[in-house]
Symmetry: C2
Subunit: 757 residues, 2 copies
């Protein structure tokens, strides 16, 4: 999975205008690489506080059941237990530490079901124990007696909507009957949310079509499978101040969550974001931190919560599955006249997600579009974000059908897409698709028996979020960035490059320090592809603020005007007079004796519009006709990154996202028994790909700059996961002649399709 391919660079001069152009666009070693490979990086589980205790959860073994009683008396007798909490003790225990009863009771609702209430998925937390060892806490959990009344469970959204289905979240009234499509006339049950949209007139569009296609696509739940599980250590001081050390994508988000769920003032909470071993959208807080804090408040000792891998599968927030029905009309002139979509999203015991259905429309000019999308409850945990939330599912439906249409109509799927793609300022849809097609040699592609090619694209627009940074120049001429950024993917490295670029020093002379929420200025969480866009702007502004002071100081020393100076190679020089220069180290030292003092710049950014990007992917597969096993033999991959700050890191992002998308299509699925039990809650049974499962990936970075991104950057973390499922299905169809509408494409499923079942 390495790429050493040349990049398509559309712009350099216009974007290098703010710097010397040497430090960005440079493939540098990650700033955290040495810490990580030497084991020096501190993950939350590496933390050992004096007197620390260990938490274990008592979880429901049932997918759906009513709690009849909870008895902790035997557990409380166990020597070494320091705190036991569950819903009915919580209001009592915690009343003294919160300001009023309303707040105390609010906690209960969110964190545990009470006696008389139901557990809605296997693994629901029923109680938590902290003890001086994990083993004692486990034994205490075993001693807690919980009586359940088992209820019928729902694990398929197509069952949940039926008018005979049990209701998961009472009270619940059926939705208005669906107007048309696969569920026409049905008043859906267990609807947790819905999203409807209508552009133009789909009926007229379908009438104008020469041909109408209609399919149902099914995609299961997938798990983000970050390497590091959830870990949280809470420490409560005598004055009530809470310090939480946690594995999170956003420590400020954890602080807000805790303040809200525990009704505490923000100023009483300090969150230390430890080195994170992956998140992919699952680690914004809410799963573990409130429990470690509540236990620590009760025990008056530090408490560590470490999820097991099984707990990650039972009670984290994986990506939702979906059933998506798509209908598309096309004319013989290769235009799309209408597209309509109906979708049921498996939202487990929670809600949210179905809005992503609008991504089925894709990157195309379609005047008539209509969607009716529903969040449907099942007896599974609530879903969460996974890289580009909802995009792989919606893109599977939209892009697979585009390919199917092209196949049946005899059109080239690359040419068809290029003809129908939206255009606009800051967009490079066509260039991106052409780049990957050129790379793959699409127009002259070859295949043997049982081989096939697939292509798909997925779009994404990065978010923006509030970010701040401090950039200071030290006496040794080195530059330091201080902020509240949680680096998951190498963003600290990009920030160092941006500061180096602005200041005219080497990347190697910039170091980066992350502060906790007490010390760092506010930083948005690392998700939504916001980081390089938002923090990049904050760091750029902070570096510019520092640069102004550097120039003033140098101008005074060199007896020149600021306009006559240039910054490069770690020094400030009078233009046209290379002899007249002063080094950054000298300026850093002079500043300490100057009226202005030490050189410290600050920069903040919140939200400005970003521009849409697409990931375009091409795969070649070979299908074993005896077993149905799919081998991916070639992979091509392009993305419009706006501007590649660290091309090597961009390539890593693209390849990682691509693999996650294809893996969802090829092998990943969370499997549930009819009673709601998860049947593959561990990495032995939930298969994720290894390096041997994928070929090398050829990657092309396209650079169409945005106006508002630093140096033109677009957020790129999420888009590469979007097209994979559709690309894989289409390649398998090209190899086998069979369109399979449900993933993953396990050998069994492919073989069955090839056998015409």
């Amino acid at each position: 999975m390495t790429a050493t391919e040349p990049r398509t660079t559309k712009t350099t001069s216009s974007n290098g205008a703010n710097g010397n152009g040497h430090q960005i666009g440079r493939s540098v070693q990650r700033i955290d690489s040495l810490d990580k490979v030497t084991g020096r990086a501190k993950y939350a589980n590496d933390l050992h506080l004096p007197g620390m205790t260990y938490a274990v959860f008592l979880r429901s073994p049932h997918g759906h059941a009513r709690i009849k009683s909870i008895d902790t008396s035997e557990a409380e007798k166990l020597h070494g237990v320091v705190a036991i909490i569950h819903a009915d003790t919580l209001a009592r225990d915690m009343a003294s530490v919160v300001e009023d009863e309303i707040h105390a009771s609010r906690r209960v609702v969110k964190l545990f079901p009470s006696v008389g209430e139901t557990v809605k998925y296997q693994g629901t937390k029923v109680a938590a124990v902290a003890a001086v060892t994990r083993e004692i806490a486990e034994e205490a959990c075993e001693r807690i007696q919980v009586e359940y009344e088992i209820l019928p469970a729902l694990i398929d959204v197509r069952e949940s909507i039926k008018d005979t289905a049990p209701i998961i979240n009472e009270p619940s009234t059926p939705a208005d009957p669906v107007a048309d499509g696969p569920w026409a006339g049905l008043a859906l049950r267990n609807v947790a949310g819905q999203n409807h949209r209508a552009d133009g007139d789909v009926e007229a569009g379908f009438k104008a079509a020469d041909r109408v296609f209609e399919d149902t696509y099914v995609i299961p739940r997938a798990h983000q499978t970050y390497i590091e599980p959830h870990v949280s250590v809470a420490d409560v001081a005598m004055d009530g101040k809470v310090t939480v050390y946690t594995s999170t994508q956003g420590h400020f988000a954890v602080r807000s969550n805790l303040a809200n769920s525990l009704r505490m003032p923000l100023s009483k909470i300090n969150v230390v974001g430890m080195t994170i071993g992956g998140g992919f959208g699952a680690k914004f807080g809410g799963i573990v931190d409130a429990y470690s804090v509540l236990l620590a408040q009760k025990a008056l000792r530090p408490v560590k919560v470490t999820y097991t891998r099984e707990e990650e599968f039972l009670d984290a927030r994986p990506a939702p599955g979906a059933v998506i029905h798509v209908k598309t009309g096309v004319k013989n002139d290769r235009t799309i006249t209408a597209r309509q979509v109906w979708a049921l999203w498996d939202t487990g015991a929670g809600s949210g997600g179905c809005g992503s259905t609008s991504r089925v429309k894709g990157v195309y000019k379609i005047d008539n579009f209509k969607m009716d999308a529903y969040d449907i409850n099942t007896n599974k945990p609530a879903p969460g974000a996974y890289r580009a939330p909802g995009a792989p599912q919606a893109t599977m439906a939209g892009e697979t059908q585009i390919n199917k249409i092209c196949t049946e109509m005899g059109w080239d799927p690359v040419e068809f897409r290029i003809q129908n793609m939206r255009e606009g300022e800051q967009l490079a849809f066509r260039e991106t698709l052409k780049a990957v097609a050129d790379k793959a040699g699409w127009s002259t592609r070859q295949k043997s028996d049982n081989e096939g090619w697939g292509v798909a694209v997925g779009e994404w627009t990065n978010g923006g979020g509030p970010a701040s940074a401090i950039v200071s120049l030290h006496e040794d001429g080195k530059v330091r960035i201080f902020y509240g950024l949680m680096d998951i993917t190498g963003t600290d490295t990009a920030m160092a490059q941006i500061a180096a670029e602005v200041l005219g020093v080497r990347y190697e002379d910039v170091s980066v320090v992350r502060g906790d929420t007490d010390s760092a200025p506010f930083g948005t969480a690392s998700g939504g592809s916001v980081v390089t866009f938002s923090f990049g702007n904050a760091v750029k502004r902070a570096a510019e603020d520092a640069r102004n002071r550097v120039l003033e100081q140098a101008a005074e020393h060199l007896e020149a005007s600021v306009e006559d100076l240039e910054l490069a190679d770690g020094k400030i020089t009078v233009k046209g007079n290379p002899e007249a220069s002063v080094s950054f180290a000298q300026v850093g030292q002079m500043a300490l004796r100057s009226k202005g003092g030490p050189i410290v710049g600050r920069g903040s950014f919140a939200s400005e519009p970003s521009a849409t990007t697409i990931a375009a992917q091409i795969a070649k597969v070979k299908v074993d006709p005896q077993t149905g096993k799919v081998d991916i033999t070639e992979l091509y991959n392009s993305l419009d990154v706006g501007k590649a700050i660290n091309p090597m890191a961009c390539e890593g992002q693209l390849e990682g996202g691509l693999v996650q998308g294809f893996a969802w299509g090829l092998m990943e699925q969370m499997v549930y028994a009819p009673d709601g039990r998860n049947l593959n809650a561990g990495l032995l049974d939930y298969r994720i790909p290894t390096a041997l499962d994928f070929p090398d990936i050829a990657t092309v970075l396209v650079e169409e700059p945005t106006k508002n991104g630093p140096f033109g950057v677009k957020g790129i973390g999420e888009p590469p996961i979007a097209p994979g499922v559709a690309c894989l299905i289409s390649a398998v169809a090209d190899a086998t002649g069979k369109w399979i509408h449900e993933v993953p494409l396990t050998p069994e499923r492919v073989l069955k399709a090839m056998q015409g079942a």
Copy 2:
């Protein structure tokens, strides 16, 4: 030692111009008080790192000796020893971790004497051992065999200068013969430094005098006796990055010291300043941190150094003693015609200090002044700073003689001083002396038998140093200061008040976080009375920077112009329209969604001229004629503080400094045997006062603002220690009729004087 007296406030309106005037000038609870009284504050010795080991030093038992051999072989065999270092192993051991041999050898020179070199004071570090327990390290030290050739020692500067004295620091050539005074014609030996000054023509001045006075004053070494001894914990990562947790007045100073002494790049060192339990000038680094780092580098495990109290006396950096000869000419019109001074400062095995002799001139208009001052080596540790370095010693000589002159001439010492004091802008010498005289009822003072009154003043001008601060507004409307300030005396509290004042929020809504040298912007060390002056300016500027953003954000929201807004009581209001307002919390939240992003202000400051202040003190004593015991019965104290940010904290500073000055005069002294051994190396034998030794102190704060201090602040940490010794001697003279020229005024010494010895 409490004071609840009204204050003389000269200015408020002019200085409150930048704020609402409610948050400064307010006596508030110290921001760190709860942490300290509940034991939550983390001192360096509270730190326990996994795998930590403990260091013990092998020290010279001799005051002056040549090292003939060092044999560590038996110590190395001891199980549990992880590192042994001494001069001759150091170059070899450390060559691999430094860049070149020159650097490696530089370390050796500074840190240990080599075989063949001499130890110059008892307690000189000869070797250091780290082991898994302190007991094992102690045993290892006992097993190290060091052979010494004992040399004659010098403990009195008057002996060191003689032409028969042994030389302590070879090579050494005698100084040019002294021109006049007590050591006229002598080519002084063991001179480590000298300082000469001549204003006007002293010979002419003495000729013009009606009367000339001449005395020799002798003051011993005193120890700063901070509660917390030196502690340093060093941790070295695999990549060589050093983290030091230490008790210091300046963590950036420790970083620089380590970088210099260990020849390491600044960026490879992070210093965490832990809560400090007192420093008084002794904790700027150099005594322990280099050793903990060297041991940790060798052991590849964390190493903790904790000084014992005995080690603090043997091998820290106490205040130098001095022998000061003063000659002053006065006319009958109460003017001073000339003053000349010759001084020998006991600089131990080091150098520095004698420049303070110029303080003998005092706060008076004296056209003709001459001084010849020498640093003289003795077999004692090098001295360091103690509060106002050199001021108590010089002021003892200068101010005692002023009082003696007044007594002999029949002049009132308050009136004489007021007549002769310098005047100038930003100075309030006379007002300060008058304030304390009024407070004490000087003009109508009474005394019984064996009672006496003394008065003295001491001047000081605070330094300035580079400082930076970050002030941010959070979503809950709270304000946070982040910086690299080591708070010893309550300065964090003053900084919170300054930020609150500028922003118009309550002091209680501001919190303060100290960063380590990796995360905080540069901050000067806490010494030289610089903190409230320098950091106060940095915080004020940072708060103003944040305020600009607050006002912009509020103006946009309120549809008003920035000029029409006012900040007070945690909200921003349109002037004249109290209904039109927005809270800080709202602004903090809006900023996160605004184009400008989170509100973060930065401020830096370096050096601007400050103005001189004086401390004026009056004491009443009663002397027991049978025993010579001196009881201080009344104490009055005033200081020109410029502007009292937190009057309660100012009073604490004044009282603490006063007590240290009087204690030096009354009881404190480091006592040495002729062979250089310290005879009172512990708090059982080195007496410091308790609360029972002093009466309540009446304190008056005078406020003559400086131009460059924030809100007019002058640095006040140091001046109150200056006048005490002179004030006490003079009060005892008033009680006994005897001028005693040497302190401390132990009962023996006073009784001997009363008996005419």
